[in-house]
Symmetry: C2
Subunit: 345 residues, 2 copies
Amino acid sequence: MQSTSGQPNLRGRGPDSDVVMSCRVRLARNVAGFPFVNTATSQQQDELIHLLKNILLNNDLDEKLHWVDLTQSSSRERLLLVERHLISKQHAESEAHRAVALSRDETLSVMINEEDHLRMQVLAPGLQLEDVLTRINEFDDLIENRVDYAYDARWGYLTACPTNVGTGARFSVMLHLPALKITNEIERVRRAAKELQLAVRGYYGEGSESAGDFYQVSNQITLGKTEPEILGEFCERIVPKIIDYERHARRLLLEQNLSHLDDRVHRALGTLRAARLIGAEEAMRMLSRLRLGVTLGRIDGIRLDTINRLFLEVQPSHLQVHAGPGCAGNELREARASLIRSRLP
Amino acid sequence: MQSTSGQPNLRGRGPDSDVVMSCRVRLARNVAGFPFVNTATSQQQDELIHLLKNILLNNDLDEKLHWVDLTQSSSRERLLLVERHLISKQHAESEAHRAVALSRDETLSVMINEEDHLRMQVLAPGLQLEDVLTRINEFDDLIENRVDYAYDARWGYLTACPTNVGTGARFSVMLHLPALKITNEIERVRRAAKELQLAVRGYYGEGSESAGDFYQVSNQITLGKTEPEILGEFCERIVPKIIDYERHARRLLLEQNLSHLDDRVHRALGTLRAARLIGAEEAMRMLSRLRLGVTLGRIDGIRLDTINRLFLEVQPSHLQVHAGPGCAGNELREARASLIRSRLP
């Protein structure tokens, strides 16, 4: 696995990165002739793993992938992958024989035997879903040349859960919406998103809290529309609207509430630089405020990269890579505070 | 009035100044032949003021005093005197014709027509009550040469409130007890003090909260004992016991809870240095933690003087001296934060 700085999805160098941390396309695919994962026997799961490992690690692919057998890995290693948004919590905790294949830079990953046989994702910093879609489609085509996908001429790609049937594609963006949170307008955004049949989730996807004011917004409709249609609506209409709404809220803070804004963002930096013990939740909250301050030009001398990387580095399993696997409780809070101080001198 | 830095009682340079901010002796005296203030007519109050002004401003005294007619002064000026512990809240708000006489360095002050005709106080930094008592007794003798005090051979000095009859003397110390607060032992100290018939009050005396973890401890018995007896018990037995107790609690924090202690004191400094808006109460709380950190050697490069002075400078009326009398609300919180940052670069 790469060093934490190697993950581009949290580098925040892409378009609209003041609001969009990263974007992602995920495709759900299943292999014809095998039952879905939840009804497959252990033997069938093993067969699938064997089959897909051979295909994914084949040198003919442009993408050189690294294989992680999750059934063999420790729970700490699996949690590290969850923190890096490379596997889902469900995949980490599942009882199935399962694995993940990762590209060197971690922008491409394939979960094997999660809810579907294959769940491929491509991640990129900022908002650049067209490029991401192109890349994942090319990859998907390469795989499809080597295996029969479960596909129905009328319904499209068949998936374990009906919500994914059709294109099997899900587009999502990880948005940083601190100003909408401060101005209490985040609930309006949530309601509007719901009406547009979008899913709004927290930092770790389904069922997670919106730590650090991050909201993962994704389409829920995969049936009856083509990928370009879904993408067009999502990328050109919906996401820009939320981005504008957040930027508008940030302008209001600048124009109408500057002293409160400055107080909030400078205190956050002060706390991050001063704390000797800090929990993950507080660290995320303070980093979110700091990120707001930096994107609005209220705090100088701190790079957005540094902050984006810290969101990842303050997570428990990432900290344990440095501090040791047994590091917990106060010791972990101390290691977190110490790491943050070293990054924000 | 002197600049705020001129007040020695908050400079913290005296003995035991890690725990004792300042000490004070106050004498209550009344002039024979006049009713107590609360039953005196306006004319009698005026006569007293005239009489005492002549005596107190007389050049024969060693102490050159400055006269402030509180009936003529603004409520902001009176509040400034309260914040400097030179007059009581009651004296600031009273309806009586009243005044205060102050020495140049503000270590000696005489309230006229507070509860008693004269309430003299001498303040000093740290714990040095013997010297303070010597100085106030010399001053008292000078006054007594020029006016007849209400005195009874059996009861001693007569005062408006029976609790002050006898010596009329009250000894008090302003203690900084942050460790006893953190370890939740402050209530035990309060109870023990009560059993010893001591009064434990907040930063602004009677009825005030213990802002900044300051506790003003004073004797309540003035009858049936001589000043040296009261002082001996107070200074040699009681106050050293509380000081030891606080120091013991500080040692425990150092030995058993160092990371929490460091976290608390560094966060306080971080907040003070970062805040762009701060209220008086939060400022006092953070300064208290910072003071603890400095006295325990956990924070370098900040002088105790600076902190002690800030406790005074962050008070509303003191801030208004710089920021303008109309400065209030957010503007005042901004001025406070800005002043603190300039003092703690």
